[in-house]
Subunit: 215 residues, 2 copies
């Protein structure tokens, strides 16, 4: 059993939180809007807690950033640097900029990434970028699409932390094809998939579209 | 039988040129370095010709841009605007910038693309972006990897030209899963796949890695 602090209150946060509780873990969701999450707590049971970003970050052995890209650095600042030290921080955010209309562009890309910005801001956190290239329902149930025959990307600077996360994703969520792209600079490559992912979502009218790397 | 003018003298140009000749078409490769291509002509036979960018562009019913991204706009200028008017121009280039070391970054991305730059520069050409997300050997023989069970992206502003190209890729080269992403602004999304593709190439030690969109 592990304790997870999840920053965010959207579909990614609640889907992952619910699944982790179902798997026997304890979860605190950190949010600015705790009143939005009453139904979620009622639904998933007494292993679910709601708190501030700071409380959730203090609570978790592992942390998950499921805030919007635009709000990520502010949320982590509220979480508090001291609560991130030495911890795995799974970063699912994407630097989507909706200010120019649809489809969104990226507010950081090509020579930098949001994953790298987080790692630079919190050098003592173990930032692991993953899950940012697919929809929440598939993160927690990869088998529900094409019997799980598709790919998850992962990157991060700490090989041991990355290996632990890969093992967890495999054993707890059933991920079979997880490709380790290397250090956190690889986050650029996965965040830059979003423009394609969003166009595929718009084209097929469903977010249940996934990348598979055929090799 | 069609006449193809291919700009470029690298692997993409020679692989496609060879395959198109094998399929009974006539091909002129346009290059600044015709002496580099003597072996290729000897190998593929008398339907292969070599010329300048301008001669190749004049020759082709359909044109293929297989120059490097950095040299693309200059090559098209040499090809001559009058030789592009009304023609399908299949653009395979990627805006790779190797000046900062490996892996390369992109010299245009996110809010624009090389495909769009070409279309804006030559509004009377029918620019079709495709083939820029995979290695040359798979373009001409998709069946050789996973029995062809992987995806090709295509985009462009002219629906009729796009439909003709899709039909050609299917009937002549055996492409089964071609996803039409929409207008030429979608070129951004496919060019932005390159950072991931290059990291996968480096990781697996082979360019025979391909995207499949599972849905």
């Amino acid at each position: 059993m592990m304790k997870f602090g999840i920053l965010g209150s959207g579909m990614v946060a609640t889907s992952l939180g619910g699944k982790l509780i179902e798997k026997g873990h304890e979860v605190m969701l950190g949010t600015r809007s705790p009143d939005k999450l009453g139904d979620w707590v009622a639904q998933v049971g007494d292993k679910a807690q709601i708190g501030s970003f700071e409380a959730a970050a203090r609570f978790g052995d592992w942390l998950i950033n499921a805030t919007s890209g635009a709000g990520t650095l502010a949320a982590l600042e509220l979480a508090g640097e001291e609560n991130l030290i030495g911890k795995v921080l799974i970063d699912i955010s994407n630097p989507l900029d909706f200010s120019k209309g649809m489809p969104p562009t990226l507010f950081v890309s090509n020579t930098d990434s949001l994953g790298e910005q987080i790692q630079r801001s919190y050098p003592q956190a173990k930032v692991i970028k993953t899950f940012n290239t697919l929809t929440a329902a598939l993160m927690v149930d990869p088998q529900s699409l094409s019997e799980g025959d598709h790919t998850l990307f992962i990157c991060g600077d700490d090989p041991k932390a990355k290996a632990q996360v890969i093992e967890f994703l495999s054993s707890e969520l059933g991920w079979r094809d997880v490709i380790d792209l290397g250090d956190i600079t690889s986050a650029r490559a996965t965040e830059m998939l979003l423009p394609l992912w969003i166009r595929l979502y718009m084209k097929f009218g469903t977010p249940r579209v996934q990348f598979k790397i055929v090799r």
